[in-house]
Subunit: 348 residues, 3 copies
């Protein structure tokens, strides 16, 4: 009962969060016909700082973790992130009428992790006195970055395929894609993705966080500016989401359905992976719960700027709306499910 | 004696403040022919952050106040702000040779409130052991926003009138303005003002401050960046003020006269309104003093970015010069007058 | 032994510093062909804030110092900064194949001071229990600004000479430069330098720091943003340094030689000047050491943004590479030399 109450309170907090408030505010301004704009060079700077921060934070938390203990769970986390994106690419992103670019952007957010949902999970476990591994906090960058890069790569590949299909005729292009020529294109798009400003900034931050000692500038600059710059990015995305809401009219039900079902499905995938690790390596029951929570959650902080930077054509009404509006509250509500399931299957 | 000394010290502090130092610095740079410029996209971003901060701060302080106790004094404060602007629109803004746009911008600043002058008033009352209502701090956004929006609206209306007069001939236009067609134009300009980037940002911040929970991002981002961004805005305004100082040559005496007389006149208006509230609702003598101080003060922090954003044609030599250079020191000097007057008329 | 170990640890710290990490990160991104860019208006804003901060900090530290005690040592410090730049202009900057603009930019950085190297010197003296004058910290802006302005001025003059030589023929131009006409050009370039955005911002900050009371905005805004904005500027300079590394191929040995020899040579100049002051005014042995450290050090914080702003044509591979990559580690290693020398020549 307490747990349900706790979840509900967390959802209310979620809705009062500045990120969502600025997103809605942006939609209201756009609906009112406001002439407010954020200049393009400023927007690029905000995204650069946001992605450097995400990369730096991930790099620092990985550097501070025990690399040996981290290796296998990190691979599992990355694999989960990729699996969630692949699953979405065959379900939501193929739904009739759903724009494939929008579907893949949504896949990226649902594969990525919400740090605040993960924190809510930790708080609930702590309250129940259930132990978990200390390195869990360093796992989420692996799931996050694997999911976002996979989703961006797949979105760019399907856009390239669409262009190819358009220029040489559908049949031939599909054949060309299936064979050796496809590999060349994958490699080309991967290289292009790594060179894109968004992924470059993310990887640069990751590298400096791992190899340098940027703690001082991270804590004194990137961390404090992050929430503020994010609030302004959310404002921009809200204005754009309103302008592009019309595109969603015919497929909104698909996104709503996905937003409700995905957290449970992904959580089960995470739970299953954790259960295997529990039997093979003695991974704790609390750790299994948190892996399920990570998989169930969808990114509402690090993901949106990455996708907005890397896939500017994708419609934020689709991906931010589904993730921040539906996925995150549902994921928070699902936390007690994973605790109960772990209690029943493994026992604390 | 102590009180006079206190006022003098506050004025010296005022003159050493970074806002004024950067304003003067900008004028010196412009006089030297410096090629320093702040790029337009950056300027727009600075103004956006400044106005969001002003709105958020106002929204949060109103949300935290007792709405029932606040309602009547808030209406009175808003009414005072509007009355001050209307008074100026019939005096300074009609002075022969005074540009109407500049006059209305000055009206807006003198109708709006200086938080630091209000704080100086509170400190003096505290030092004398005179009590006042706790919600006073939440009153100033009402006076501020009412005055600024009224001034911007009237400036835009007179600009529209000038254009109309120019195109269809003075006499006919005046007639058209007086009748039903004028209402349509007022509504149109009001809508246009609300959609302008400056007022949109201010209202967005107000709405999020009222309805959301942006405290964390407000205290960690908007509040710390505010003074810094304001220093750079003041630099920009100083450079522009110098470039446009020539326009002031023939009407400087009007602005100086207004800057000296207005704080006393407006303070009396505030004192009178407070006295009525004292007799009707038992509003405290300290509250009456602070209402007079608020009315006497002119905005040197929140006002300039709002006006620079909403009325870019107005000459900052006129409005910032009169407000920050003359109005604020005079308003601080006038505080002991309101305390003495309240002591004589009401008694503590 | 402890001292050598301390120096080595300081060098390792230096290499892990975010400034160097972002510089190298920028080079890696450029080598990978990343499309990451920082928009020009944002770049201008970053440089503006960085230079205002440098100026404000210098102004505040000079204002807080005892002007009478400071006067003579400040003149000596400024003289040393200028002498180092002049020396470089006759050695490195005249080396066959070395671009004169790049050579003068390097001269500016080696004439300027590294606050962190100076701090390392103070820590080592404190550890040895050696006393020094309290005003030393207020000396470095004089050496810094004198060196940077001299270097920028000389670089601009030689660029103007090159243009003149190109247009009217080498011989005649040299004659014209030697006579009275040259004075006019010097005055013109000095005026032009003072009006340049970079030097204007530096002087504006200095003026406001000296005459205003900007402590609050300095500590709450300029100081915290400084390291972050510098990290992004270093990223930009790293990308540019990579793109222009090819220009260095034939003259890299000249820069390496200068980077190793200059700290020792400049340190000796500082030591000599300090020794004269010791005999004339009783300047302490610790003070002599710190003057040598200041002269030996090269600017890696305040210098790069100033030069990038004032001499955009200069190649950062040359000046930042030589200073941050070679000069700073060598200068830190040289600190024990000055302590030993002072012990031997003056005694503690």
């Amino acid at each position: 009962m307490d747990m349900i109450f706790g979840s509900a309170a967390t959802i209310v907090e979620q809705l009062q969060k500045p990120t969502l408030a600025f997103l809605i505010g942006g939609m209201v301004l756009a609906a009112m016909g406001s002439r407010l704009t954020v200049p393009e060079p400023v927007y690029k700077f905000l995204v650069l700082v946001l992605l450097l921060k995400v990369g730096l934070g991930a790099g620092i938390s990985v550097r501070e973790a025990d690399v040996v203990a981290l290796a296998v769970p990190a691979l599992a986390a990355a694999g989960l992130g990729i699996a969630i994106v692949l699953l979405c690419s065959r379900t939501l992103a193929r739904w009739p009428g759903v724009n494939r670019m929008d579907g893949m952007a949504t896949a990226g957010l649902f594969g990525a992790v919400s740090a605040s949902t993960l924190a809510a999970g930790m708080v609930m476990l702590d309250a129940e006195g259930i132990a978990y591994e200390g390195f869990i906090g360093a796992l989420y960058p692996f799931m996050d970055i694997a999911a976002l890069v996979t989703a961006i790569l797949m979105a760019k590949m399907s856009a390239a395929r669409a262009v190819a299909a358009h220029s040489v005729g559908g049949g031939t292009a599909t054949v060309a894609m299936g064979g050796g020529a496809g590999d060349g294109i994958v490699r080309e798009i991967l290289a292009d993705t790594l060179k894109s400003p968004a992924i470059s900034a993310l990887l640069l931050g990751l590298g400096i966080g791992l190899l340098g000692r940027p703690e001082q500038v991270y804590e004194g600059f990137y961390e404090p500016l992050f929430r503020g710059f994010l609030s302004i990015l959310m404002l921009i995305m809200g204005m754009e989401a309103w302008a592009r809401l019309g595109e969603m009219r015919k497929v909104a039900h698909a996104y709503v359905l996905y937003g409700i079902a995905a957290p449970f499905l992904h959580g089960l995938m995470g739970f299953g992976a954790g259960l295997v690790a529990h039997h093979l390596t003695g991974f704790s029951a609390g750790g299994v719960v948190l892996l399920a929570v990570m998989a169930a959650s969808s990114s509402d902080i690090s993901g949106p700027p990455t996708l907005r930077g890397a896939l500017p054509e994708a419609n934020p009404s689709a991906y931010v709306g589904t993730s921040t509006g539906i996925g995150t509250p549902v994921a928070i509500l699902s936390i007690p499910v994973w605790i109960a399931l772990a209690g029943a299957v493994i026992g604390f």
